[in-house]
Symmetry: none
Subunit: 285 residues, 2 copies
DNA sequence: GCTAATTTAGAATAAAAATTCCAAAATCAC
DNA sequence: GTGATTTTGGAATTTTTATTCTAAATTAGC
């Protein structure tokens, strides 16, 4: 507006630096939106209404959505303090996937500092566990879970298979089923190798295994499948070998701390599954 | 549900059409993952573990993340039935915005639907687990934890005692100690009732028990104490019977859902303890 | 209503990304 | 082992996308 001196022109204050988070971005947007020129305001409104699109769209797509020219988008980005659209998009993208902290490197850092107290380690596991649990709600498909409950409720006997790091999960399932009077067998892998003799076509198997997959678990499960038993798999990724045999898959992604994980998510899924089945089979529980 | 034979000549079956949703994409991925060549399988595993990255990454970034060449990514996309990466990414991007309702809002929605659905129950356990973990940091005394690590690091052999709902905890400890080459014995309570014969004065016992306390656990632990062994107790309240015998107490208060609990806190404490002891005894781990 | 300053649209250019191609390795069948 | 076939790595190419530039249009001041 009023030009006092060359360079002053602080009315525009264009020399701002880029927002560090989407939160301060939207804050700044709200504060300055109505002093923006027409097209820029128009675009501002658009992304305020569709913030989720920024991370996955091109300049052209956003421009089209807001009914402005691509160059208007560029001007907008610069007005907000970014060098260009790419920088702004980077912010939106990182903001989205920021919830994948790397506990392994955090632990390594912790060790370097020498501050390797057991409490610090515990804190890491607690954090990893909380994130894993939060994640669990998105990785487990509700339909698959419902289907698993159906299948297990119909089964004559439920067999649990899972060794090494998966064994705590199966043993807890065994405890829960026993407490609720659901006929269930925990396969220890020691004495009863010939499990094809105990599994019947009307039975179901809960197989728990994580990469690297235990051979014995896959073996036993495959044989049970061949017998005609239904399989419910608690595993980590879809590419798990259990996918091949058409198991009902319940996916758990657990964060590691060093070489170990807290198993929080896996145990929670297991107990929820068990209790669902228990109350279904025996409603007065 | 055994695959019909004809047309099984799917050695290559590259003539498939592109998956219409990410669900069928992952289904197909699970079914074909293990007949893929090495690098393609490697990439398949990567995106199975990081599905959320696909929408917001470039070919080069994903390739780097999976440690393969960009061209391998292209071959993978085509193998899965897409014309190329761009088409595949388009699919993931359209799914992207549906994931935006974050954990908190999804949970709230699930709750107000009330419902007896397994998912709702799972949500309950997840919430209980998260709270329990949060609590854990305040209920566990850092000094006691440090002392427990000291004692266990000195022990000749570590014995784990815990049954019923505590058994998942002890069995996970057993797994962890074995993996870290720490001499440890898991007492199953079945075969070795005469454990006073295996426990030596220089040994230590980790006793895990929650109210109502299992008689056998208290018995065995008391006898071990009489032998002169050190005792580390993972239990729920200070008034636990283990207090009497001068055990080092690590307290965990776990929230119940109905008659069950998710064991998240107990497992986290156990694994932190085990890893601390393991790295102390064998620093190069 | 005329002039000066801003803003805009659209084309031109630069940068980045996807995709293809092919020689070298690796694997497989015999 | 030998030859045929598949798979791989990396560079070359094409396509897409971001960014800049400029003339035309709009707006504001007088």
């Amino acid at each position: 507006m009023i030009e006092a001196k060359p360079g002053a022109s602080a009315t525009k204050a264009t020399e701002r630096s880029a927002p560090a988070t989407t939160e301060v971005f939207f804050e700044r947007l709200g504060a300055t939106a109505d002093q923006l020129p027409k097209r820029l305001k128009q675009f501002a409104d658009f992304i305020a209404a569709n913030p989720d699109r920024v991370a996955v769209s091109t300049v052209a797509e956003l421009a089209e959505g807001a009914n402005v020219q691509p160059s208007a988008v560029m001007r907008f980005c610069q007005e907000m303090g970014f060098s260009g659209f790419s920088q702004m998009q980077k912010l939106f993208r990182s903001d989205y996937s920021q919830k994948w902290p790397d506990y392994a490197t955090r632990l390594a850092k912790l060790r370097e500092q020498g501050a390797e107290s057991p409490s610090a380690l515990l804190a890491e596991f607690v954090e990893a566990g909380r994130s894993s649990l939060e994640n669990l709600m998105t990785t487990v498909d509700p339909k698959a879970l419902q289907e698993a409950v159906d299948v297990l409720s119909r089964a004559e006997t439920i067999h649990m298979v899972g060794f090494r790091r998966a064994f705590p999960v199966t043993s807890y399932l065994a405890y829960a089923f026993e407490k609720m009077d659901v006929p269930a067998v925990l396969h220890s892998g020691i004495a009863n190798i010939n499990m094809e003799h105990v599994i019947r076509p009307n039975d179901a198997v809960i197989a728990v295994t994580f990469a690297p997959y235990t051979e014995l678990t896959l073996d036993m499960t495959t044989k049970a499948r061949a017998m005609g038993a239904d399989i419910v798999a608690i595993t980590d990724v879809v590419t798990s070998p259990l996918a091949r045999i058409k198991a009902i898959q319940l996916l758990v992604s657990e964060f590691d701390v060093g070489d170990f994980r807290a198993l929080s998510a896996s145990l929670s899924l297991a107990i929820a599954l068990a209790v669902s089945v228990g109350t279904r089979r025996n409603p007065n529980l």
